[in-house]
Subunit: 177 residues, 2 copies
DNA sequence: GCAATAAGTCAATAATACTGACCTAAATAC
DNA sequence: GTATTTAGGTCAGTATTATTGACTTATTGC
């Protein structure tokens, strides 16, 4: 399945991915920690910033978490005046979320650390590296396009990202003695 | 600081990174969930597999977590017979960790899903993409080599990955209502 | 002998996210 | 025009992960 020559390289890639992601999230995490906020707050700020007038439901779908898990952090951000929540003009049930001026500023600051990190890495890796990186990461995010044969015996259902599906085939965690 | 032309691309990169990592960890997570294990168990299995006879202290350092956070998952893996713990011949204080046969099999299964995902993505992105990807990710993991001027006002200390440093300048989390 | 080191442990706490059970209000179906 | 569905919000209970802090034990190195 996997060429033995490639195996070492792919193992190195796994490790590199892990450490890179840790560094990638570290910058925003440190800024947020100073305000007592966490990674969920960051994700909310990011996606609301990207798609102003996002509905709560859409936000839940991109984040792939439950309503209850979103609730507390979102309410905090609204109470802190970083996120604005207004009713939709057409459909009175849906709430449209957008960033306040201060929200935009915080989001920009968080995102700037990540953009700087990536820009530095692309510059260091040379021209063309950004395009190649993007193409690889897009494919990874899409499940590398095809699951292919010989995949691990996992139901298509449990491959979905919903919290319920994740829970469905989980063994009860064994607590150590 | 960041070219406006680049900004959209870098924002896209942030998003791509987030979704790619979610997919990347999803495969092993689903397999582990069936046994009631989590991501820490995976990391332990991975690093012990990579460096047999790793000491507990070294493991703590790569994982950047506390002894107490490692303790329960590691003990479970030992009790389940996936990880073997033996005393060092020279220094009686240190324990040398390695995978059992079953541990090797599970680790291989977990890692295989990630290698397949990455191999597929590299193949999809064309030749040379793997090298470029590696170079970029190595730079990201190293903090993009230079922090540079105009960096966000973060102490060098809090940039370190230790749990204590992370905690040190954190505001108390505000609970909503 | 004694300080430092490696490992293991118990207790308390915090943050995150889950399930389940509700509620309100508005839109849509019949 | 009631009935159902949808969007959003909330409370309660629980599980997991990881933290700080305070120890204990055994061993090593002077």
């Amino acid at each position: 399945m996997v060429d033995l020559n490639e195996e070492a390289g792919l193992r190195a890639a796994i490790e590199t991915f892990y450490f890179a992601y840790r560094e990638f999230t570290g910058g925003p995490d440190r800024i947020l920690a100073q305000r007592g906020l966490g990674r969920v707050h960051h994700r909310i700020l990011y996606f609301v910033g990207q798609q102003p007038d996002l509905s709560v439901k859409s936000l839940l779908q991109v984040l792939a978490i439950t309503k209850q898990a979103l609730h507390a952090p979102l309410r905090q951000l609204i109470e802190m005046g970083l996120v604005l929540s207004a009713g939709d003009s057409a459909d009175g049930r849906v709430r449209r979320l957008r960033l306040s001026g201060e929200g935009v500023r915080l989001e920009a600051r968080l995102t700037a650390t990540q953009m700087k990190l990536l820009a530095g890495a692309f510059a260091h890796a040379g021209s063309g590296s950004a395009a190649a990186w993007h193409k690889v990461m897009k494919a990874v995010g899409a499940g590398a396009i095809s699951a292919g044969p010989g995949d691990d015996a996992l139901s298509a259902e449990s491959r979905s990202a919903s919290p319920a599906a994740r829970r469905r085939d989980r063994a009860p965690a064994r607590r150590a003695g």
